[in-house]
Amino acid sequence: MSPPGRRRLRPRSAHGATGAPPWQLVLPALVALSLLVLPVIGLLSRAPWSTLPERLADPAVLDTLRLSLLTATTATGCCLLLGTPLAWLLARADIPGRRFVRALVLVPLVLPPVVGGVALLTAFGRQGVVGQWLDSLFGVRLPFTTVGVVLAQTFVALPFLVLAVEGALHSADSRYDDLAATFGASRWQTFLRVTLPLALPGVASGAVLAWARALGEFGATITFAGSYPGTTRTMPLAVYTALNSDFDAAILLSLVLLVVSVGVLVLLRERWTTGVAA
């Protein structure tokens, strides 16, 4: 299972770290674990199991789920197309102000999503810096459209992908790039044939993180794209709206979101771990 080199990486007793784990670590770890698990147990215990089948058969639930999956997947695609080159620039190219650029990439990560939504409105809204030109020149309006949802999700998810891919590029050996160059490959060819394949596990895990973040997106979406069934009301928004009238419906939607996201993550993980090991 494990390659021979691996054993050398974790010498079990080199630090003398034997014996029972210290309570100073076990106790907070248990608190952390229960903090993570208890809300999920709460969700499961309050679920309207008896009416579950008929509630699930509601076409509105499926439509909302479809919209969520469509937008999150499209946003992930956008992240891959735009974020991978950005990560490459940060990791491999000699650009001025690299630290500053990296800080810019991190902004959506630390920004509260609702603030992100306000910022998107000021940029791409009808009165926005870019949005008013989009509107007057091309008649393109992003707020309150499905494209607007994808934009909001891409905005919040992009840092996850860039960070993951940049990390993968850093840990991948750049001497292969040099080698490819000595064989006469152009930088673009090198990226496609050498750099990218080596960084693929990082790209994949970044894509999953981005997808999960996009699927759960709420604040930026409701602020920038509004909330309307079929076009912009994704699962998290539907949960919020249902919360005001029908607690059971909110729990049901939450459960669906939970099952889908965990399911997809498990599925993908399995595929990679087997893929990487093979």
């Binding site: 009165q127 309006r141 309150f144 509004g226 909330s227 309307y228 009301r233 709206t241 005001n244």
Partner: protein, 260 residues
């Protein structure tokens, strides 16, 4: 050496934080004498400005009381009250949301109707698409916002648009009426259905288009002290003030109609 010390320091700090949190929590739960009492009022977002005004009057009459008015959609607030939110008073924008709270036995007395409201259409002040009447909502490219159907303003908007036979879908359903108003003042939609009182509060920031037959779907504002109130006396004082001639004058100045 450093490496072995750090985790313990961190854990200790975390424990201290937990302890400090517990201590400060308990001190909040038992306010010492002499501290200002707090009155928490949950109010429909259409009441934002009117209740801010009432708050000034109330605090002038009760110098040692700190009033906190929390505004959101009536349905959100009703749901929070049912879930046990620590509020003293609830004021809703319709009967149905108040009913959810009385059904749970959470009203301290029979809710009082203290005002009524009527819908109107507002447009951005620098109106470029010129929505002049409700039929303009059906024009191609015209966008408008309403409240979610569960919120009183959304239910009323739906009823009125049906009544007027308007055959055009909104582009967004906002969680409360002030979110609709903001989308209009920000110029992101061409129009929005809000209450007359919201249009009044927005003043010059919006243009107002009167809606025919709006008087046929009046909403009623209901108020009650809550049985879970931490300050039942103050809660009743608030309800009394809102219903008094003085309170009614304030509400009228913000465009609310008097209770029947």
């Amino acid at each position: 050496m450093h490496r072995h010390v750090q985790p313990r320091t961190v854990t200790t700090a975390a424990c201290l934080l937990l302890v400090a949190g517990a201590v400060s929590c308990s001190s909040v739960a038992q306010p010492a004498d002499g501290r200002p009492a707090e009155l928490t009022v949950f109010a429909a977002s259409s009441l934002t400005d009117a209740f801010a005004d009432v708050e000034h009057t109330f605090e002038a009459e009760h110098p040692d009381v700190e009033v906190e008015v929390i505004v959101d959609s009536s349905s959100t607030l009703a749901e929070q009250v049912v879930a046990g939110a620590l509020a003293d008073v609830l004021a809703t924008a319709d009967e149905a949301t108040m009913q959810r709270v009385t059904d749970e036995g959470l009203a301290a007395h029979r809710p009082v109707t203290f005002a009524r409201n009527q819908l109107t259409l507002v447009t951005p002040a620098d109106d470029r698409t010129s929505v002049q009447s409700v039929v303009d909502l059906e024009r191609d490219g015209v966008t408008y916002a309403v409240c979610v159907p569960d919120a009183p303003c959304g239910a009323a908007a739906r009823a009125l648009l049906d009544l007027l036979g308007v055959d055009a879908e909104p582009v967004t359903e906002e969680e409360n009426v002030r979110a609709v108003l903001t989308k209009v003042t920000a110029g992101e939609v061409d129009a929005g259905l809000v209450y007359v009182s919201d249009a009044e509060a927005a003043g010059a920031d919006v243009g107002v288009v009167d809606l025919p037959r709006a008087g046929e779907v009046l909403t009623v504002n209901r108020i009650t002290a809550l049985s879970q109130a931490a300050e039942p006396e103050l809660a009743r004082d608030w309800v009394t003030l809102v219903s008094s001639a003085q309170g009614q004058r304030v509400l009228a100045s913000y465009g609310f109609l008097p209770a029947p």
